[in-house]
Structures are given as structure tokens and as C-alpha cells.
Symmetry: C2
Amino acid sequence: MRLTQWTDYSLRVLMYCAATENRPTPPTISEIAQAHGISRSHLTKIAMTLAANGWLETTRGRGGGLRLLKPADQIVLGTVVRQTETDFNLVECFDASLNTCRLDGLCLLKRTLKEAMAQYLAVLDGVTLADLVTPGQPPLGGQVISFSPRA
Amino acid sequence: MRLTQWTDYSLRVLMYCAATENRPTPPTISEIAQAHGISRSHLTKIAMTLAANGWLETTRGRGGGLRLLKPADQIVLGTVVRQTETDFNLVECFDASLNTCRLDGLCLLKRTLKEAMAQYLAVLDGVTLADLVTPGQPPLGGQVISFSPRA
């Protein structure tokens, strides 16, 4: 039971942008990649997808970088996770084309797991990006990476 | 966001046993493996683990097979899933030894995801194996595999 790495990294990018939104210059992909030890090319794909989905704007050149397109308190975690997490088929029988389960006709497992997932997402629907981060606060270790020079 | 195949198959074994608990002879691993199109050796490992964890008793020989050790209405889905699902580390930062996230100190994501998972499991804690199946009812397609000869 795990979110994908894609969702994990997408949330990190958005949270990084939220945590640094008061900076004069926005963070770049290189800065976030370096800060998290994630490959720059992988993070570029994630940032481009987040931009295509209307979460980020990206600007090139000096002083450019990634900015949230909406205030962090208007970005609902549940909405982001529903978009980044593509596989909500909790067990095989959620996908009719793959289902081999012979108990399908007499089994209420699917309905139970759907209800459980709805409750999971309901928690995320009550939380915004702003609730997750404190802008301008230093991260773990007290090192203020949010104001470090861009890599 | 998916349960493991191990959990999926474990639940199928337990539900199969619940659905057939009124039969004079219990289902065998071969019967369940054949009914679900799952490898017999894989299902043997799952059945042995379920037996070791106190959900099933296994008897050998003629008339032997798998039986639930408790009535199906006393087997709580949440308890089974907590045991079969070993990875509840929803994102990297749940595991301190693997965590590379630099936002750790200022991020409330972990707490939010833990709360969401608690709500997910709370739904499963309200459901027993008996709620999931109707004993003696035929599965998908109307074919009464629950009463077919053992393979």
C-alpha cells in the first residue's frame, strides 16, 4: 500500500514551491533536484506534467523558475493525488479486463475497498498545500536551502 | 495505490473458505488454485502463512483441506490486511532510513497521509469476512464451484 514515486516527487515539487513562495526568485528544477537528490531529467518530466495540469507556471532565463499558479491554500491535496496517482485498482477485480476472480459474483470486497479509498481521499480533500508547509521555515537540519543560490 | 498481490490472494483464500464453510468437505489448495487460475505452489505459501497466523487450519488426506479457524463473522478485514500488507510506507519519508526529503522538518504530509491511512483501515475494521461473502451462493457465471469436486 504505497503511493507511487511520481506522486511522492510531485508533492515534493509543489511543497517546495509553496515553502519558497515568498522568495524574490522562484526555485528552479535544478535547485529542487539538487535539494532532494533526484535526477534533474526525471524532475523535469514531473514539473512539465504539473505545469500541463495547471499547478505550476515555468519561466525560463535569469530569475526564472517554478511558481505555483494558484495560492497554496487553494491547492487541495486530494485533487493533486487523484491526478498523479493513476492506479486506484486496489485489487485485481477493480479492472474488469484483468479480473480472474471466481468469487466476483458473491463478493463485496470491491465495494468495501472503494469505501475505504473514499475515506482515505476525503482526508486529503480537507488539506491544502498551505497546510503542509510553513513558508520561509528552514527544513530539517536548520539549513536554509530555500534561500540558497540556484544550482 | 494498490494492495499487494499477496493481500489480494490471501483475501481470496479466506473468502473462498468462508463461502464454502457449510460444505461437508473443506476446499483444498488445488481447488482454490484451479478456481482462481493461480499457481498452486504460490497459493500453498499463502495458505501456510495464513495458517501460521492463526486464520486457517489445514488438514491432510482424504476429506482434508482448509478451514477457517474462527467463524467468518469474527475475522475482521482490517486485522487481516494489516498483517498481509507489510508496506504501509506511503511515501519515502515514512522510512527514516531511506528518507532523502529535505522538506522533512517543515512538512506535515506524513501526518496527513497517516491520518488518511487510519481512515482507510477504519473502514476495513468495520467489516468481517462474513460481510463479504454469502455462503453457498454461486460465484460469477452461476457456476457452483463451491460444490464442485476437489481438483
